[in-house]
Each structure stands twice: as structure tokens, then as C-alpha cells.
Symmetry: C2
Subunit: 343 residues, 2 copies
DNA sequence: GATTAGCACTCGGACACTGAGAGTGCTAAC
DNA sequence: GTTAGCACTCTCAGTGTCCGAGTGCTAATC
């Protein structure tokens, strides 16, 4: 085997051994487990060269080697072979997701839960950007004497509900009136266009009725904003406790970051390929810089796509997790497109 | 001051100093901060006695004293004076909760979020047991060509929605028929009575229509089960990272416990007084045995009440947190009762 | 030129030792 | 019942030593 190729093999073996054991990898151990016959001294020379290239490092002078972030990068980009899911794993994923495929939000939450369980990582599923959604229909349902619920249905298959209260007794005639008035005003427009200015002009257009309908307008506004909002399901946070690289201070910061879907999305938004991997400090956020992220787009219709992502230790099983994530996002994309097309 | 009373004062001072600093409390430091004049030697004698009574302990022979669980217990039961909330704090709580008081689930989630923020603990809010709720009305809304949503409204003010799909094109006539059939069957019965057996007899009663309406029945069933289910909002898990008493293994176990509302409720169910405190191993769950729980009932109507709880380190500011929790549960109870009465 | 064997070297981890400091328990005096 | 004084105990931080794993280098070998 020619030397260059052997060095790559060694890098691959170091990464995989370190992912498996978490211990620095020594030349001797490597020599025994490698399938080509060279002495540990040769491997030492090669490892020294890999280290001078910045792909391996030592925790101290006389320890084994561990991969640097660059080493992981080369491994992920050039060396690793994806481990395809078994038929059993595939059907497991499908069977877990099918029952929750009744609504986009529900499905994404289910996908995040499932992914966090099978990978041991923290899983994130962002909903398709809602801004492009068109309001298809608004309905009102009386839920109590003074309370009612607005139901807003968008072109992306998303259904948002919002309860509100009136100062007066609600009657069927009133809800019908709400429905007519609101649909006339809101149907067909994009949820992104439901701005404060638009709401103000809507109130003005209602004239004296706007006093009666303040709460109705507010509820519709809330529902539309809800439909437009970036929404992310985050599951499996308990797995953070199994990641020793998370100093307790960082742990809190990461958890808080994850509850702000807007910022979270900004981090993931760069991922343009099918499944992309961000390693350590490649993630432009201090709290996450000791972790890795695997992100994958799912697509139902061209304008309707979102991201599934896994957050885990830098030392994670990339080949397996990339496969699991890609397969899951394919399934999610398919299920979502069925929801939209036939919805 | 008579000796017995002084010993209690010393216990109180030790607990409060330890809550504040987290450091074992020595006789000398105590002597300086105490408002009655005795020498450190006297305090040492008293502390030795408190230790022999099992109220104080030492981490090692020559360290200061820290309270035992029993010591905390005495402190909480007999010694501590609740610190009432300031007007400002009260109005802050009210103002944060009012906007989310449109639906019970929403309110409880808001209360848990708020409590976790102001206390630094993990906050839990369990919904009132839904089993007693009566189904008031079932409505159907078409959301797509093949999809519709069932809306189930109960006597407790809870509104549950569930999306479902049919194999046939849905028409207004069909949703009307769904509505009529389902209300005839389900209105007025308790959600707890929606058992598999009841569903089976419902399907039988529908005769040949039941084939058409399988998904409708399933959706109604799901919505009813959802309304009956014990539901708990858990917020502020990121605060677990600031509790060093949580070994990383326990952290994961606690987080997982919190996502199973049934088990969680079992732990809290014993709390019968207004605000009750469980300290360390008084909590009958191994993973939680190094933490404390403060739980408080909120009540809207006599049959409709639930629990708000705080989970934090044993060393937590009981006087302040008990007040905050009691005040919040009063507010939540009031807001909920308005929802039910006028709903 | 690539590979290997051998050896000196380096460093971290475990362990023991030390002195300072904090805090106690005990005793005898008040 | 309280207090002053003192010996005692134990932790903590710092230091020294030893061991072993693993390296880097050099010279011999293929």
C-alpha cells in the first residue's frame, strides 16, 4: 500500500477508534488492529506527519493521538463510509412516524423525539418557514358563552388555533359574522403580510364594529403570527447530561439557546447540502463550540422545507447518524408533501 | 435567652447561612453574626447537641456544620418565616400570567415558565385531572380536501383538537353528519367513559357507516383521551445544570422522569396541604433524593384543581420560594375559575 | 528510499508527605 | 450554665517520587 493512502487509513482508524473508546489512540494498539502489516514505528512516523498537518493532536507529550477538528473534517468529507440503515431500522422509523403524520407540527415533534431516542443526541426539527404560507380559511367555533376559538388554515397544511374571550355573549350569528368579516379581509393573503400596520388598517376598515371585534382581531393576529413564526421542536435534552464535554455553565446556555428557535435557526441555516456536518468551532456559537451538529434538509414541496438536526459530542458516530438523519428527513419530507398535496 | 430557644435560633441561623453561602457554618462565624451575645464555645456546645439530635452534621471532623434533612424539616415546619412578595413581584406575576390565561393548558405552561424563571428551579404544573370532565360539544372543521379537524370542548374549559384524514373527499354535508352523529353519541358523557369498549359499541351503533367513519371515531377517541390524560407542563430544565448535587447520571434520569407526567404526578399527589415541602429522601424516588420539591395546590372549582411544584436543590431559599409558589397558585386558581365559570 | 528495531526521553497519574489553617471537643476555671 | 484555652483532627494545596505508556530519534535493514 502506498504511503499516502496508508496515512489516510491511519487517520480513519484513529477517528473510528477514538469515536468508539474515547481514549487517545496509541501507535501500538493501532498496529494490532490494522489490516495491513507495518510496524508500530512506521505508524508512529505516519502519525507524526498527520499531526504536523494538523489532523491529529496529543493531549500531552506521551499520550496517544486524538483527531483534531480538521481531522474529523477530513474523515467526514473523504474517508467515512455511510452505514446504511437496516430494513428493520428503516421500518422502525417509518412506523414511529406514520401515526403522528396528521399535522406538520405533530410530525416534526415526533421526528425529533424519535431521532433523539435512536441517536442519543439532542434532536431539532424546524418547521418550514411559515412566512410564505397563504391564509386559506379562517373559522370560528364557540367554546363557551363568552369564549370562542379561531382556526386558521394555511396553504402549507398548518392549522393554528387560538382561544379568545368577548365581553358579550357570543351567538351563532356573531360567529358567522366574524367568519365572514375575517375571511373577506384575510383569506388569500400571506401570513407574513399580517403586520401591525395591516391590523390597524383592518380595524379601521371595520369602522365602529372594530370595538366589538378587538379580541377577534387580536386572536386572528396571534394565530397568523403563530403560523408565520419559526418553530422548532427540540427533544432529548436529557442526553446533554451524558455529554461530558459540556461544562455545566455551557449546558445551561445551550439549553437556553435551544428554546429560542430564531437564533437556533440562524445557526443551522447555512446547511445547504443534503446532510451537512458542523464540527466543534465550525459552529459559530461559543456554547456549542465543543459539540457537533449534523443537519439535513427535508423537502416536501420546493418552497416548503425545513431542517432536521442532531446535536451531539464531537466524538460521535458520524457514519451511522448521517444515515439515520438522511433517511428520517426523506420520510418526513414525503409525509409532509402528502399532507400539503391532498390537504 | 433560655438555652432551648437559643439552640433553635442557632439551627435557624445555620440553615439560613448555609442556604446563602453553601459553605459549612462554623461556630465562630455564627457567633459574630448572631444577635445574642454568647461565646463561640457556647455555640459549639449547642451545635454539638443539635448534631447529636440529628439536626446538623459535619462533612468531616473539623469542618463547620451543615443541616441534615431533619434539620431542614424542623426549619421549614417550625422556624422559617415566609417572606411575603413585594407589590412589585405580585404585579409582575399577574402581568405575566394574564396574557396566557385564554386556555388552561396555556396558562399552566405560562405559570411553569414564569416560576422557573423567577425561582431558578425547575417548575412543574399539572393540569386538573381531566377524567371528571364532561364532553360538552364536538365540532368538525374541514381543513383540506381529505382532512378535517375535530374540536372537543369539555366542561372544564379545555379544548382539544385533532386532525384526521379520510379516504374520500369531505363535504360540508359530511362534516355536518359527523357532528350530528358524534354529538348524539358523545355529548354529556364523561371523557373517562370513552373507553375502548365504549368506542367499540359506538362503532357497532353506527352500523355500516362505521367503515366510513373509522378515522372520525379514532380522532374523537384521541381527543377525548387527550382531554382525560394527566398533563404536566415542565419548564426550566436548563436550571438542572446549575444544581451540582445532580450527578450526571441522575440528571438524565430526572429529566426523563419529568417527561412522564403519570409518574411525576404520583410523586406529587401526596401533597395535601396548601404548600408542602418534600426534602431530599422524603421524595420517594431515587433520582430525586438529593433534591427538594415544593408543591402547592391550585383550585378553581372544588373538583378542578392541580399542582404547581418547584424542584430545586435541598439547599434552596424555602421562605421566598414558598411565598412565590403560593401566590402563583392563587392567581392560577383564580384565572382558571374565571375560565370555567364564564366559559 | 522506505521500513524497522531499539532505546532514551517525556509526561501524566497515583501515591505519599508536609505545613498551614479552620474548626472542633474537652477540661478546668469562672 | 458559660467561657477561655488548648490539644487534636481533618482538609487543602503544594511538593517529590515512581511507574508506565507512548513518543521521537537514530542506526541498521530490506
Amino acid at each position: 500500500m502506498e504511503p499516502t493512502q496508508r496515512k489516510l487509513k491511519i487517520l480513519e482508524a484513529v477517528v473510528e477508534a477514538f469515536i468508539k473508546t474515547g481514549e487517545p489512540v496509541g501507535s501500538k494498539a493501532l498496529c494490532e488492529n490494522l489490516d495491513f502489516n507495518v510496524s508500530s514505528a512506521t505508524i508512529r512516523n505516519d502519525m507524526a506527519e498527520l499531526a504536523s498537518l494538523g489532523l491529529l493532536e496529543q493531549t500531552h507529550t506521551s499520550s496517544g493521538r486524538i483527531p483534531t477538528e480538521l481531522g474529523y473534517r477530513i474523515y467526514v468529507d473523504k474517508l467515512m463510509k455511510k452505514i446504511p440503515l437496516t430494513k428493520y431500522e428503516q421500518s422502525h422509523i417509518y412506523n414511529m412516524l406514520y401515526p403522528v403524520s396528521d399535522a406538520p407540527e405533530h410530525l416534526l415533534e415526533g421526528a425529533a423525539t424519535l431521532l433523539s431516542k435512536i441517536t442519543g443526541c439532542v434532536a431539532v426539527a424546524t418547521s418550514p418557514p411559515g412566512e410564505a404560507a397563504i391564509i386559506k380559511k379562517i373559522r370560528f367555533i364557540q367554546t363557551g358563552r363568552y369564549t370562542a376559538m379561531v382556526i386558521l388554515i394555511t396553504s402549507t397544511g398548518s392549522v393554528k388555533t387560538k382561544l379568545f374571550r368577548c365581553d358579550f355573549v357570543i351567538t351563532p350569528e356573531l360567529t358567522e359574522m366574524f367568519e365572514e368579516t375575517m375571511n373577506k379581509r384575510f383569506s388569500g393573503i400571506s401570513v407574513a403580510d399580517v403586520t401591525p400596520a395591516f391590523m390597524q388598517s383592518s380595524a379601521a376598515a371595520l369602522g365602529e364594529m372594530s370595538i366589538l371585534m378587538t379580541n377577534v382581531l387580536v386572536a386572528v393576529n396571534d394565530a397568523a403570527r403563530d403560523a408565520a413564526a419559526a418553530n422548532a421542536a427540540v427533544k432529548g435534552q436529557s442526553n446533554f447530561f451524558t455529554m461530558p464535554e459540556l461544562a455545566s455553565g455551557d449546558g445551561k446556555r445551550v439549553m437556553e439557546l435551544l428554546s429560542h428557535s430564531r437564533e437556533l435557526e440562524k445557526l443551522l441555516i447555512d446547511t445547504n447540502s443534503r446532510a451537512s456536518v458542523l464540527i466543534g468551532s465550525e459552529i459559530k456559537h461559543p456554547a456549542l463550540s465543543r459539540l457537533s451538529v449534523i443537519a439535513s434538509h427535508y423537502t416536501s414541496t420546493p418552497e416548503c422545507s425545513g431542517i432536521l438536526a442532531l446535536i451531539g459530542p464531537v466524538r460521535m458516530n458520524y457514519p451511522k447518524l448521517v444515515s439515520a438523519l438522511e433517511y428520517t428527513s426523506d420520510i418526513v419530507g414525503n409525509m409532509l408533501s402528502e399532507l400539503v398535496e391532498y390537504g
